[in-house]
Structure formats: C-alpha cells, structure tokens
Amino acid sequence: MLVAGIILVLTVIAYLAKVVGGFEGVQFSPTVSVIVVILLAASLLWILVLTLKGRLIGRRVVFLYVGIAVSLPLFMSISQKIVISPETQQLYDAISELPSGAKVLVSFDYDPPSAPELQPMAEAFLYYCFTHDFKVIVIGLWPQGPQQANLAIDKLLALPEIEAKNLQYGIDYVNLGYQAGNEFVIQRMGGSFESMFPTDYSGHPYSDLELVRNIRNFSNIDYSFNLSAGYPGTQEWVQVAVDRYGLSMGGGNTAVQAPMMYTYLQAGQLAGLLGGMNGAAEFEKLVGREDKGTRFMLSQSFAHMVVIAFILIGNVAFIVGGRKKKL
C-alpha cells in the first residue's frame, strides 16, 4: 500500500509538471521504467501474501492500482510490438481495394467521452483516405460527432504530407454536419442524402458542394466507415444501410461495444472492425502513422495486467475463504 501510495504521488507530480510546463519532456528512462514496474509487481505480490494470510483488500485498493496502471505508463519509455488482428487487417484490405477518387462516407457517431478510443481511429482512417486521394464525406448522428470530425481533419491537414496535397473543402472532403433522427436518418439517406443534409456543417447548400452534388444516396458511395460509441451506431448502420441498401461498410467501436459487432463481421455485413484502443493502435501501424492509439496501448497493457492480477488475488481470497469454511 505504501509503495502504491508513493507511486501515485510520483505520478501526480510528474503529470502536474508536464501540464504546468517546463517539463514537457518528463519521461522515465528505460531503467527507471523497469524499476517502477518491478515495484508495482512487488506490491501486488505483497497484496497476494496478505490475501493468503486472510486479510482481504477493499475495492479502493483496486481503484488505486488501476489509477496507477493507467497513468504511469504515460511517462514510461517501454516499446511493445503491436500485432495486427484479422478484423483490423480486413478493414485495411477493404479500403486498400478502393481506387483513387473513391467516395467514402464517414459517420462520426460519438462524443467527447469516448474520443480517447475513437479519435485515434478517426485520425488514422482519414489519414489513409487523404493520402490515397479518396473523397471523404463526413456526417454525424450524434450532435457532437461533426465537431470531433473537424478536430481530426484540422489536425491531419496540418501534416506536411497532407498539406502538400492541397486538399480543398467541398471538392476533396465535406462535413455535412449533424442530423437528428437516429436510424431514420440512415433510412432516409437511402433515398436521398440531400433531404437529410440540405446544407453542410457551415451552412453551404448541398447542391453547391462539388463533391456531393452528384451523390444521390448510398448507391453512389464506394465505402463507408462508422465510428460508434452507442446508439445510434454501427448496429443501426448495419441493419439499415448495409442490409437494406447494400452499403459496404467497416466499423470502429469502443471496446465495450466491439464484441457485439463480431457477429456482423463474420456474417459479412461488416467489412472490417476496429475494437477499442487496441484496434486504433493496430490500424495506426497499418497506415504507417503511429500516434495516440499506439502510445496509449502501454496504459492499456498495464491496466489489463493489473486487472488480471486482481482476478487472481480474488480467486486466492475465494479459495482461502472456502478452506476456512470447510475447516
């Protein structure tokens, strides 16, 4: 507990130093990183010993360790090899087959709380689209979605390789904004995009935008990518746009939602799936631009390890408790 407390305090100090300024480069050296990991493991072992002695820990201790496991790796310099999963590879293969100039619809169906997982996916996907000269049409079925899209687009447009392409709004990409109505919006887009998005995010009429002027409905879209954090999201897109209008589509989902999407993946209703931070990191690797998704994977690895450790400790407590009962 003491060790965990010290590590937490160090983490907070390191974070504050980074935020306040002057210490932007706060990063543990590999040696310090390894020492911190060993300390963390030792303290977990100590908890295991305590549990074996019959002293059970409370949930606050679990919280403390999760906090440490998520925040400490942000300062560590440990690299890990990202392995590409079949579903991420499938998404990459699907977009690799698209010709230059293909029209890609990207629906941003999430808001800031789920941005840590979905924004890296959005950036990696748009990066691939922009570098391969796809025409990108952005919409949002969540009110904050188009805003998230703009954040990603602005960030990418500032990159030298994208800047060199001199992409034009209205010709190479458009943001049609948010439309209320959930799956009814998708259904009506099957008839006409313009009826649902008479103007873009900034108020330009649909017919004035060269990119979408001749796009009537899903039949004019080559591929679609949905970033989803809940309802409406990938499930609704699959049920309406894919099943009823034959849209070819890939999904980017939060880790909580992703397991449900595997059913659509296997049935061929989804052409590729990115699940959680892991999916984002894998896709970043495939498109050749490793960014936040990859960096945050270390935190995810640590958090998983800590949760596994506590599941083991919990089982030890269960067995010890069971023995006591038997005695």
């Binding site: 890990q80 392995v83 079949p86 709380p113 840590p116 109505g181 599941i311």
Partner: protein, 215 residues
C-alpha cells in the same frame, strides 16, 4: 377515450411501419418519414417538460430546505448559466471562441470523460469480485477472461513469444472473440429480436397496454 386514442395511434403507426418496409410505392414510401418527423417534433417539444420538471423539483427542494438542497442550487445555477449564455450568443453559439464552446470544451467534455473513465475502475472491481472459480462454468469464464485480456494487449504475445506465430495469445484471444463469443452473442441477439417482435405485436394489437397505464 384516454386509452382508445393512443391505442389507435399505436396500432396505425405500427402497421404502417411494417407495411412500408414491403411497399416502396407512394404514399407508403413517405409515411415512415412523416411519422418519424412527427416523433422528432413531439420529442423536441417534450424536452421542455423534462426541463421544467427538473427545475420544479429542484426549486421545491431549495424552498423546503430538504436534505442535500445545496446540490439543487448547483443544478438550477448551471441550467440557467448554460441557457442564458446560449441565448446571448445567438445562432453562432457553437462557434470557435464563444463562451458556450469554452464551457463545452473545458467543463462538459472533461466531466463526461471523467464519468466514462470511471468505468475502468469499476470494470476492475467488478472483475475482482465476479470472476471466481465457483464451479465449472465460472472457471471456463475465468479462463476465457484471462486469455482474452492478455491476448488483446501486446503483453500477451510477448509472454508467448516462444510459440510459433498464429499460436500465440493474440490468436487465441481472436479465436475466442470470433467463435465462442460471437456464437453466444448471436444466440442472445436472436432471442432479443424475437422478444422485440413479440412485444411489438402485442403493443400494436393493443394486447399489451401496461405502458399506457392499464391492463
């Protein structure tokens, strides 16, 4: 009449929604749009009911100095702060550099993200408590959780680097997700879909009326 009119609306709209799926011809092709427009309009108007209810309950708490009335002051103050700033800034209230967008970026977004982030802590405490090898099924669940959690992060493959490619933990996790997990999900989803059909039919036919406040 208090029940008959809602029942009639439910029945007509329900049948039209089913029929329009099979008939693309006008007017059926447009009916779905009309009804969904009406739902959006009713829903938008109803927001006021909710907002007024929230204010009423909070005001009552403050007036009666009920327990925790101080939180009600925070609710009322925040409500009016956002509404007033939104109105003052007019149509461009969502634009860059507005007070509204500042509140959105630096108050609302971090608060929402914090709530979502709490999930990480709760997942850990729930796993600690729930994944116990109580019996054979629970042990299977425990094993699956163990391997998937390890296999979904690069550490899993690092630990099993001695195995040939395709047999490491990431491959095992992928197999669990793609087959046993997806099969279970499908079974539940089919059951849910049938439940939705059955419930919808009961509602459309007026057999189920509890949601209208009666048998």
């Amino acid at each position: 009449m208090r029940r008959e009119i809602p029942l009639a609306i439910t029945g007509i709209v329900g049948v039209v929604f089913v029929v329009q799926y099979f008939i693309p011809h006008f007017p059926f092709s447009r009916m779905n749009d009309w009804f969904s427009d009406w739902f959006s309009i009713v829903q938008a108007c109803a927001i006021w009911l909710g907002a007024l209810n929230l204010l009423k309950i909070s005001a009552q708490k403050i007036a009666a100095r009920k327990s925790d009335w101080i939180y009600s002051i925070v609710i009322v103050a925040c409500f009016f702060l956002i509404v007033i700033i939104g109105f003052i800034e007019g149509e461009s209230f969502r634009g860059q550099g507005t007070a509204f967008s500042w509140l959105y970026d630096y108050v609302y977004t971090p608060l929402s993200a914090t709530m979502f982030a709490i999930l990480a802590f709760f997942v850990a405490s729930a796993s600690y408590r729930a994944f116990r090898a109580r019996n054979f099924e629970a042990t299977l669940l425990l094993g699956a959780a163990f391997f998937v959690m390890l296999g979904r992060v690069p550490v899993g493959d690092m630990l099993t680097a001695f195995l040939p490619d395709g047999y490491r933990l990431s491959a095992l996790a992928s197999w669990v997700m793609n087959f046993p997990q997806a099969a279970g999900q499908r079974a539940i989803m089919i059951g849910i879909a049938l439940g939705i059909v059955s419930t919808s039919l009961r509602i459309i036919l007026g057999i189920e009326r509890s949601h209208l406040g009666g048998e």
